[in-house]
């Protein structure tokens, strides 16, 4: 890809005679960045692709043996790894659906003349700017069954958010919803404010009900921008590590990133974890691809 940059085009005539030519400038501006990203992002991946076919362990001095596709085969036959993927899928669905419902609902409420609207929206953005790790830590205090503020505020007695294996994943998702609903809200607001007012006026004249207005006017017009939010959040939720890792270490909340971390840096099965990393990588790239395609489409609009 880098070679594409070097091919000549558009030798800007006038500027080229003084100082650096445009081509030099262009290359000087772009090539270092591309090289930097190749060295620190792509090269490591090639490096780990090699290890994924070996039984290498970074914790021993033993040489790595080539084992072919053994790691991939074992991983795809490991029911625990499959359950990690299932947990991840469940987490992504719960947290993204939750964010869309809460975020879009908030946007609908906010999309009107409200005193201090600017201040309110700014304040609502705070959660998503915070560190996931630190948020996870203090939500532990909020979820605490006996003295936590959540159980007290909602009168839930000593409801076990994190220690109940069946509840823990929802608790992690709930924290994620708290953090990221404002993001969906922000995007939805941008979409809502772009809906032409005359459409609503026309609907009012036609005596259209609120449901009709919502499903036939609002939703279709906001949908493209909402879609960006959904794909983006799906991608991020799929990668979640910090939040779940700090909030809970239940087997029922062991997302695929956590399994990968444990395999690589607690059990030191370096070769096998490289193989798992590749399986995860392919999935993320697929979602990224969808995201970028969609993003470009919206940008062209």
């Amino acid at each position: 890809m880098a070679t594409a940059v070097l091919t000549t085009l558009d030798p800007a005539s006038r500027a080229a005679t003084r100082g650096w030519s445009d081509i030099t400038i262009r290359n000087a501006f772009i090539v270092p960045t591309i090289l930097f990203l190749i060295v620190f992002n792509i090269f490591p991946l090639i490096y780990s692709l090699g290890y994924s076919f070996t039984d290498f362990r970074a914790s021993t001095n033993a040489a790595a043996n080539f084992v072919g596709l053994q790691n991939y085969r074992d991983l795809l036959n490991d029911p625990f790894v499959w359950s990690n993927f299932a947990i991840t899928a469940k987490y992504v669905i719960v947290s993204v659906v939750g964010q869309v419902l809460v975020g879009f609902g908030m946007a609908m409420l906010l999309n009107r003349d409200i005193p201090f609207k600017g201040l309110l929206t700014t304040v609502l953005l705070l959660p998503m700017m915070l560190s996931m790790a630190v948020v996870g830590l203090f939500w532990k205090l909020l979820y605490e069954p006996s003295f936590g503020i959540i159980n007290y505020a909602f009168g839930l007695g000593s409801f076990e958010w994190l220690s109940n294996p069946d509840m823990a994943l929802y608790a992690v998702a709930l924290t994620d919803i708290w953090m990221w609903s404002p993001f969906v809200m922000l995007l939805s607001l941008a979409g809502l404010s772009a809906v032409p007012k005359h459409l609503y006026e026309a609907a009012a004249i036609d005596r259209a009900g609120p449901f009709y207005t919502f499903f036939r006017i609002t939703l279709p017009l906001v949908a493209p921008i909402l879609m960006i939010a959904i794909i983006f959040r799906t991608m991020e939720a799929f990668k979640t590590f910090d939040l779940a890792y700090i909030l809970s270490s239940q087997p029922t909340t062991e997302l695929i990133s956590i399994r990968l971390y444990k395999m690589a840096f607690q059990e030191w099965q370096t070769g096998r974890s490289c193989a798992l990393a590749y399986i995860v990588l392919i999935m993320v790239l697929a979602i990224t691809n969808i995201y970028v395609k969609y993003l470009n489409k919206v940008k062209e609009r």
């Binding site: 400038i25 501006f29 409420l109 630190v134 922000l186 993320v284 970028v292």
Partner: protein, 319 residues
């Protein structure tokens, strides 16, 4: 929508306003709770029911900064009287301040980690925004073959899950001795933020009219002069916004810091959760550490509010 106003709509509007206020309060409650816990005496942090009204004190912050150890024998009244005010706060909590062999008070790990976070976040931000601005200009102003592919490539490097990249990086850093160094983290964060900076800055650059530079070129500026004298000042707001976003990302990053650092270069995010104390967690101290750490981000969020949408969507949405 303000044009049409029936009594029903006015009522609906009022209900919506009340609902918005309630939701905002619910969203802010967790942040308020952690902030208030940071000023509580330890015995009020975990009461049932939760203590809402209390006499605020700064002992959690004192404890956050000094190394402490569980008291095994109570201090004598003379010792207590001779101790400075902050040491008395530690005594009151059933602990004592640890001093080194020379009698100097020992710091806890917190100030050091906070400093590391500053070093790593600031340096990587400067590098990423610097390189990103040049590259974004290149993409914005010159025709490049396969531009869409290159931009996709740049963005996709940001999408890699950190743990996936961390495994080979750990091995490579081990080979060259970059584990647990500031530079090791700075390079990782720069790579991570660079792609983001390019995307965001390209949007800002696209908005600066080409005519400005063309006029300058006609006036006899070289392309480089035009870039530095015309384009950069025009892009200042964009650069500032991008910088703050990069800073926040680096400041908040957890997974790389957890894996790649240990003692020397560890940043605050992996350190703060580790302060669960000895046997029984002291939530007031954890809250104090958390609050100090969240403060810069909270301030920046207010500064950034008009650019936020753009930043969190890689510049896809403008506002």
């Amino acid at each position: 929508m303000a044009a049409v106003r029936t009594s029903g709509e006015i009522a609906a509007n009022r209900i919506a306003i009340v609902a918005v206020l309630i939701i905002t309060l619910i969203f802010l409650a967790p942040i308020y709770w952690i902030a208030s816990t940071a000023f509580k005496p330890r015995n009020l942090a975990t009461t049932v029911p939760p203590t809402i009204v209390f006499q605020p004190e700064i002992s959690p912050f004192v404890k956050l900064f000094v190394k402490r150890s569980q008291l095994r024998t109570q201090p004598t009244p003379e010792e207590y009287a001779a101790a400075p005010w902050w040491e008395r706060m530690v005594f009151d909590g059933g602990e004592k301040v640890v001093r080194d062999g020379k009698g100097n008070v020992q710091w806890s790990g917190y100030p050091n980690r906070f400093m590391n976070s500053l070093i790593v976040a600031i340096t990587s931000t400067v590098l990423a925004v610097g390189m990103g601005t040049f590259t974004a200009y290149g993409f914005s102003r010159f025709k490049i073959k396969g531009e869409a592919d290159l931009l996709f490539f740049i963005l996709s490097t940001r999408m890699l899950p950190p743990v996936v990249v961390a495994i080979p990086m750990f091995l490579m850093y081990r080979a060259v001795g970059l584990n647990d160094t500031h530079w090791g983290l700075i390079i990782l964060y720069t790579a991570f933020n660079l792609s983001f900076a390019v995307w965001l800055m390209k949007g800002f650059m696209d908005e600066i009219p080409k005519e400005y530079e063309e006029a300058a070129l006609v006036d006899g500026y070289t392309r480089m002069q035009a870039f530095f004298k015309i384009v950069l000042p025009e892009a200042a707001t964009g650069i500032a916004a991008t910088a703050v976003f990069c800073f926040i990302t680096a400041w908040n990053e957890y997974a790389f810091a957890l894996i790649m650092t240990n003692r020397r270069a560890q940043t605050a995010p992996p350190f703060i959760p580790s302060q669960v104390g000895s046997g029984l967690p002291d939530w007031t101290v954890i809250a104090a550490g958390t609050l100090l750490f969240l403060l810069p981000v909270a301030i920046f969020t207010f500064v950034l509010r008009n650019h936020l949408l753009r930043g969190v969507t890689f510049g896809a949405i403008r506002k």
